[in-house]
């Protein structure tokens, strides 16, 4: 193990990790928004849109992100639609994550009983108010564990972004292996970087889940 080498190239990993995190951040935000909109459309059973959404969900859940990225980055330019590397990465991640988040929201929404909505209506709340004050708060707390699992999943999925020419952690590791043949050092740093990113997220997720389980049982 060559620790001078590790010290010298740590900044490269830090830059790459920052890129990964930035894209993951935007991807997750857009996934959440997409998921919320999709699940509300499905919840209210808006005709036509509903079928469109379930088509999208099946399509995105049953194809790998890598193939989606290839299509976005290499396929679409032939139609004259040229998207930058980062744009492709964020778009791909949101396309994938949107459907996962939609499923998470949907299970939360379905867990709120219909009688609650009726009770809201009978005390004279408007539809918007019912969603805002009754359905969403309960639905979100039910679906938080699924959100956390999805967030971890999406951060893990960012590891394929080197195919759309982004210098992410995998790219840096492969580069160092190819350039200097420092396989052990490069791989160690790679594993450590992902641990540093994902361990805290995973720990926070399990803490949150425990807190919410108390909330669910009311003590």
């Amino acid at each position: 193990m060559d620790f001078d080498f590790i010290a010298e190239y740590t900044p490269m990993y830090v830059t790459a990790a920052a890129l990964t995190l930035r894209i993951a951040f935007w991807g997750i935000i857009f996934s959440l928004v997409t998921g919320l909109v999709c699940s509300l459309i499905q919840y209210y059973k808006i005709p036509a849109l509903k079928q469109l959404i379930s088509g999208y969900i099946e399509l995105s859940r049953n194809t790998p992100l890598l193939v989606q990225l290839f299509f976005l980055y290499f396929g679409l330019p032939k139609l004259g639609i040229i998207i930058s590397s980062e744009g492709c990465a964020i778009l791909g991640l949101s396309f994938l994550g949107g459907s996962y988040m939609a499923e998470a929201f949907r299970s939360g929404l379905e867990s709120v009983e219909k009688s609650q909505v009726e009770a809201g209506l009978s005390i004279g709340l408007k539809h918007g108010q019912i969603i805002r004050y009754i359905v969403l708060p309960q639905a979100i707390s039910v679906s938080v564990p699924a959100f956390c699992a999805n967030i971890i999943f999406l951060i893990k999925e960012t590891s394929v972004f080197s195919v759309v020419a982004l210098a992410d952690l995998m790219y840096v590791a492969k580069d160092l292996i190819g350039l200097y043949y420092k396989t052990d050092e490069a791989l160690l740093m790679l594993v450590l970087s992902y641990l540093v990113i994902l361990l805290p997220v995973s720990i926070i997720a399990s803490l949150l889940e425990r807190r919410l389980r108390y909330a669910g049982f009311g003590n």
Binding site: E58, L59, R61, N62, T63, P64, L66, V67, Q68, F70, F71, F74, G75, L76, P77, K78, L79, I152, K156, E157, T158, S159, V160, S162, V163, M170, A173, K174, I177, T183, D184, L187, L190, V191, Y194, L195, L198, L199, S202
Partner: protein
């Protein structure tokens, strides 16, 4: 311009080559699922032991495999393992190793949760009815476990197929690589080939995964009670 692109798909044996590439992906997924299914059942049973040592070890294994992106695991085996032991592993073999290691962890966790979800009184009422231990397992425990397990493990299968797409990054010639080769070979005669080829691969994955996840959903719904 556009029709030039779609023609690439059907020229010569291009489409068959794509299907051949897809078969490699599916084959690796199938082999890995079969092995990890068996190993996962053992792991799941071990994970229900109360022994703190096995608990700690299996837990560590599960958490590590789960937290690492599968691509990192592929790199670890394909670049790291080969160097550490001075052996030569083909891309396909490394892929199978990684997917077995990952699949066993996931499967083990599914088996564990299915086993602990069966409450103790199921065993007790079986014995109270005068069934022998073997009969309790044969008629009460195993059918329930399988019902809880099967939809989830079919889901794992689709995840496995989707994740197998990553093996192109460790140099296995599978459907994406074949697609690239076709695109490169027809770069001048069909400049818009990339759109059609990658679009087709996208649909091929969908055609493979959709029925499997549909089946899992069906079984889950039917066996919910």
């Amino acid at each position: 311009m556009q029709d030039l692109g779609i023609r690439v798909l059907f020229e010569g044996s291009n489409f068959l080559r794509l299907l051949g590439g897809l078969w490699i992906t599916v084959k690796i997924a199938l082999i890995s699922v079969a092995i990890s299914f068996v190993l996962g059942i053992f792991l799941g049973i071990i994970m229900t032991f109360k022994n703190p040592v096995t608990k700690a070890i299996t837990r560590l294994y599960l958490e590590f495999v789960r937290i690492m992106p599968q691509l990192v695991l592929l790199f670890l085996v394909y670049f790291g393992l080969t160097r550490a032991f001075n052996i030569n592993l083909s891309g396909q073999l490394s892929a199978i190793i990684v997917f077995v290691v990952w699949g066993t962890a996931e499967m083990g966790d599914l088996v564990r949760s299915a086993l602990i979800s069966i409450s103790k009184h199921q065993y007790e009422s079986g014995t109270a009815l005068g069934l022998t231990n073997l009969q309790v397992y044969r008629y009460i425990i195993i059918p329930q476990t399988v019902r809880r397990l099967l939809p989830l493990s079919i889901n794992l299968m689709t995840r496995m197929v989707k994740t197998t797409s990553l093996i192109v990054l460790i140099g296995v010639v599978e459907v994406l690589k074949v697609g690239q080769q076709i695109i490169e070979a027809n770069r001048y005669t069909a400049p818009s080939g990339a759109l059609w080829i990658y679009g087709t691969i996208f649909l091929l994955y969908f055609i493979v995964c959709f029925p499997i996840s549909r089946l899992a959903g069906r079984l889950e719904k039917r066996w919910m009670n």
